[in-house]
Structure formats: C-alpha cells, structure tokens
C-alpha cells in the first residue's frame, strides 16, 4: 500500500513540521485501519463469489431460461427466477411509493412545523421504532394487516372497482388477505420510521442561518423546505431512501408472513406472490446439499445481489448528477 497524499484538511507546512517518530505511529495506524477496510472488501467479494459459484449449476442447467422462466416446481425439478423476482420488485416498489412520501412528510413536520416538545416526543418515538426488528412487523402484518385486508380492504375494492376496466385486473383475486399489496404495506410501515429518522437527522444538521435567511426574505415554510432544505440535504435524503429500499428489497421476515408464498406472476395486487428472500427462507432448509434446487436458490440469491447492486449504483448516479 503506498502512502496516501496528506489529508486536504491539514495544511502542508504542518505535515512537514511533524517529527519522524510520530510518522511511524501514523503508518501503523494506517495499516490497521486499512486492513479493516480490506476485510469489508473481502467479505463482499466472498459473498458474490460463493453465490455465483453456488448458483452456477442452476445457470448451467437452465441457461438464460432461468431468469425469464416463471416456473418454480421442485416436483419436476424445474426452476425459474421470474416469479420471485417479480414479487421482490413489486413489493419494494409499493413500499417505496407508500413509505417515502410518508417519511418525507413526517420529517418535514417534525423538523419545521411541530412544536419542539411534540417534535421531540414523536421524533424520538419514530427513531426508536426504526429499531424494531423486522420480524415484529411480520407478526403484526400476519395477525393484524392480513385479516384487515381480507375483511375490509379487498371486499371494498372488489365491490367498487371489480367492474372498472384496468383496475379490475389490479384488484382481482380471492380475499385471502395475503398478497403483494399486503407485503408492500408491511414493508412500507417497516421502512418509513427508518427513512424518517435518517431524513430528520439530515434536516437537523442543516445550518439554521440558511433557513433563517430564507424566512427573512418572506418565504413560507414549504418554500423554505422546497427551495432551501431539500436542495441542501438532497444527498442525505437519497441516502436515507436507498437505505430503506435496501431493507425492503432483501427483507425476509416482514414479508414471508404476509406475501402468501405462491410463485406466480400477474397484475393483481391482492393475489399471493413470493419474493426471492422469502422463497429462499422457506425452501433452503428443505434442499439437499448439492441438489439442483439448492443451486437454484443460490442463483436466486445471486440475482437478488445484482438487484441491490443495480439499485445502489443507480442511486449513486442520481446523487452525482444532482450534486454537480
């Protein structure tokens, strides 16, 4: 490892003025923390390699067909990734569509509108709830949301929209309560406190002078939000959304209870589906070592890995463009 250029923050003369003995400590320090960084690199490398290696049998057997086939049938030993991938993307999309506006609204209210005392209480509560484990959301979904969807939401939509063209396809299906929408809602509730907490933190570290200047010019609160706070903290906000999205994409426990676990594809938001993560959680324990099924599950894992890679790369690209 070659020595990095001196940190920009320390003026060059200071660097030269340093006595040599100090330099040795610095070097050791750099090696130690560099090793930690290397470990992180290695662990992801290992993750990708093992997934790719483990899934190679499935890719070799089915070829590109694996990605586009929506058949998942352990009985006939036929495996395709399309159905669970569809479920993963669909539920994440729903979660983001519901969760991000909620999180943004809540963060806006907490930082700019709420009386400080209430903002303190609600903000702390939200922050604490961001820490609630995902399996709790899964149980809540299983015992509360699923019956609610089955008894109220689905009959309502079937009754009122069951004959409207286009929407009919979306609400089609028996009222089980399980399904893509239920999964998306539970995911949304799960990631919203998390995203809210991040956004609130981001808004909070903004220098008050900028806001006060805008207020001084007569801007309304929303204008301050829209024109000053959001542009200033855009990177952090996107960071928060990406964090939430990452959790939603790979979430297993919150989804596996409520998604219905049916490897199907369709327009209906109410029909049982499956996600990559919950399929792996359900079927991995039943797969024999070295079997085609195990390999297919690992191949699914590899695809999930790629999905989160792409998401992140996309977010980074967004970040860069906005910054420029």
């Amino acid at each position: 490892m070659k020595r990095a250029p001196a940190p920009r923050t320390t003026p060059a003369p200071l660097q030269e003025a340093r006595a040599t003995p100090l330099w040795k400590g610095d070097r050791l320090f750099r090696l130690v923390v560099g090793f930690c960084a290397l470990l992180v690199l290695v662990s992801l490398g290992g993750l990708v390699l093992t997934m790719a290696f483990g899934g190679s049998k499935a890719f070799a057997t089915f070829g590109p067909e694996f990605v586009v086939s929506n058949i998942w049938n352990p009985v006939t030993n036929q495996y395709g990734a399309l159905a669970p991938v569809f479920g993963t993307l669909g539920s994440t999309l729903i979660a983001i569509l519901i969760g991000v506006p909620l999180a943004f609204g809540a963060a806006f209210w907490l930082t700019n509108i709420a009386p400080p005392v209430i903002a303190g209480i609600v903000g702390t509560a939200v922050q604490l709830l961001a820490a609630v484990p995902s399996i709790i959301f899964g149980m809540w979904g299983f015992f509360i949301v699923v019956p609610f969807m089955a008894q109220h939401v689905q009959p309502f939509f079937r009754h009122h929209f069951g004959h409207v063209p286009v929407i009919r396809w979306l609400v089609h299906g028996a009222p089980f309560g399980y399904g893509l929408l239920t999964g998306g809602i539970v995911l949304a509730v799960m990631i919203t406190p998390f995203v809210t907490a991040v956004m609130r933190d981001v808004f909070a570290v903004m220098p008050p002078m900028l806001k006060e200047s805008a207020y001084g010019l007569g801007a309304t609160r929303w204008e301050v939000m829209r024109r000053v706070i959001v542009p200033w903290s855009r990177a952090g906000m996107i960071g928060g959304v990406v964090l939430g999205m990452g959790r939603a994409l790979g979430e297993t426990m919150a989804v596996t209870f409520v998604i219905g676990n049916a490897n199907t594809i369709g327009w209906s938001l109410f029909a049982p589906r499956n996600t990559v993560a919950s399929l792996v959680a359900l079927e991995f324990p039943e797969s024999a070592a070295g079997s085609l099924k195990l390999s297919s599950l690992l191949a699914l894992g590899f695809i999930l890995m790629l999905l989160s890679f792409t998401t992140l790369a996309f977010a980074r690209w967004l970040l860069r463009e906005k910054k420029a």
Binding site: T9, V40, G105, A114, V132, I144, G246, T252
Partner: protein, 295 residues
C-alpha cells in the same frame, strides 16, 4: 402559520394579497396539512404495532416463560434458552464488528480521499449495507456451516457481524467528516500525530454519532432472523457452546408464530415483546446517558 396574513396587515395600506401570495399561502397550508397527515398515519400504524405487541405479549409474559427452556406444545415451555442464546450471539457479533467497522470508517474518512481502494471499499460497504440479510446467511452457511458439517452459534454471530459492520462504517465515516477542520488543525498545531488527532479528538468529538451507529447496528442485528436461519439454526435445548447450534429469540418467534398451538403463538408474542423491549431499552438507556454527559 399566520405569518402571511400578518405581513399583509402590517404592511398596511397599499398592499393587498394578490393571487401569487394566495397561491403560496395555500401551497404552504396544503404541505403543512399533508405532512401532519403523514405523521399521524405513521404514528397510528406504529401505535397499532406497539399496542398489538403489548396486549399479546404481556398476556404470555410469566416467570415460567423466562426461566424454562423451549419445549413441545402443552409442556409449559419457556424462552430462557433462546434469550441467553440471543444475548451471546449478539454480543459476540458486536465484538467482532465494532473494531472492524470503526477501523474501516476511520480509514475511509482519514485516508480515503480520492484513492481507488477507498472508493471501492466505500461502495462495497454501501452494497453490504443494502445486501439482503438472508444472503449473508446463505454466504455464512456456505463458508462456515457446510464445510464443518454442522450449524453453530459462531456462524450466527459472524453472519450478524457482517450485517453490523457496514452500518458502523457508514456512520463512523459520516460523523468523522462532520468534525470541524479547525479541531484537526488545533490538534496538529499542538504537535499531535495524525492517529492521535483522529482517535482522541475527531473520534471523541464524533462519539455520540459513532455510538448511534453502533446502536443502530445492535438494534438491527439483535432482531435479525434471516441470517440465523441457516447458520445458528436455533435449538430447542440449552446451548452455551458457540460450536453448536444455538437458540435465539428471533428464530423462536419465527418457529412459534406460524404454529397452530395456542401456547406457542403466545410464546411467540412474548418473545417478540422481549426482543422489542430489549432493543428499545438499550436505545433509551444510551440516550439518557448521553444527555447526562452533555449537560
């Protein structure tokens, strides 16, 4: 809220609220109302979760549930072995993750400007952060379980540690970057070596933030189920050895929640309540500690 109106009044005579001012006012009001609605919706959903959790969890909470190990349905089983297993695995995971995470975070913020290695580490850490936890479970299964032929608590801890590291890395780096340049310069001016400045000035002034990161990691990790499914597997009996399958609360909840035995479902709720209380308790205690120190 009445700022616009007041302005109109005090500016007096010649000024009347035009369509533009009205539009700005209406937009502002609308945004305010929507944000209040969003907050209310969020609070209601979360209150519903907590209420369900408390109502069902307290019903099954008993001394027996806390001191008996898990057992077959109808045998008055408890969760004691799962609780102990969870604590062991989480602590070991954090012991592994904290030094690595801090080191990596320090590396990125101190030596990571512009170098290609650092850029890729940062990217990889971000990827790991959003890497689905179940994949970490699969990975550790292939590396630490399959070759040894048996599930183990250590594998579970390693899986949890892999999840915790990127969270600590990210917050550490972010927080170190927020440390004012003047503070580093002050340290350097006093003749302190770079590593001293970083460890004793920057890290210390960023400590609350860094600790928040470690806590976020702890919170995330202590309730994780997916990475444990294929690594520590869960155990119906007592197990203290990191070399053997180890019980944990989240796994117990997962196994019991979907069961058709009433007492198992009740125990699942109790377990869920315990996990949540534990996580929230740690958060609250640390917050309290911070306030005391700061004042």
């Amino acid at each position: 809220m009445s700022r616009m109106k007041d302005t109109g009044r005090t500016m007096g005579q010649g000024w009347r609220k035009g369509p533009r001012a009205t539009r700005r006012l209406v937009t502002d009001r609308l945004a305010t109302a929507l944000s209040l609605g969003a907050t209310a919706l969020l609070v209601i959903a979360l209150a519903s979760i907590l209420w369900t959790l408390l109502r069902n969890g307290i019903a099954g909470l008993s001394i027996a549930a806390l001191i008996h190990p898990m057992g077959p349905p109808g045998t008055n089983g408890g969760l004691a072995n799962a609780i102990v297993g969870s604590v062991i695995q989480t602590v070991v995971a954090l012991l592994i993750a904290t030094p690595i995470g801090l080191g990596c975070g320090v590396f990125l913020s101190e030596f990571g400007r512009g170098s290609r290695f650092a850029t890729s580490v940062r990217f990889v850490s971000d990827v790991l952060l959003s890497a689905p936890s179940i994949l970490i479970g699969l990975f550790v299964y292939l590396v630490l379980v399959a070759p040894f032929g048996h599930f183990s608590g250590l594998a579970g801890s390693v899986a949890l540690a892999i999840l915790a590291v990127p969270i600590i890395v990210r917050t550490t780096e972010d927080m170190l970057r927020l440390v004012p340049v003047a503070m580093r310069e002050a340290g350097a001016a006093l003749g302190a070596a770079h590593w001293r400045v970083v460890l004793f000035l920057c890290l210390r002034s960023a400590a609350p933030g860094v600790l928040t990161g470690i806590l976020l990691a702890l919170a995330r990790v202590s309730g994780e189920t997916a990475p444990l499914l294929f690594t520590s597997l869960g155990n119906q009996n007592w197990s203290f050895s990191l070399d053997r399958p180890m019980a944990s609360l989240p796994i117990a909840i997962y196994q019991y929640a979907g069961a058709s035995y009433d007492d198992w479902v009740r125990l699942a709720w109790t377990g869920a309540l315990l996990v949540t209380l534990g996580v929230l308790g740690i958060n609250i205690i640390v917050r309290f500690g911070f306030r005391k120190k700061q004042s």
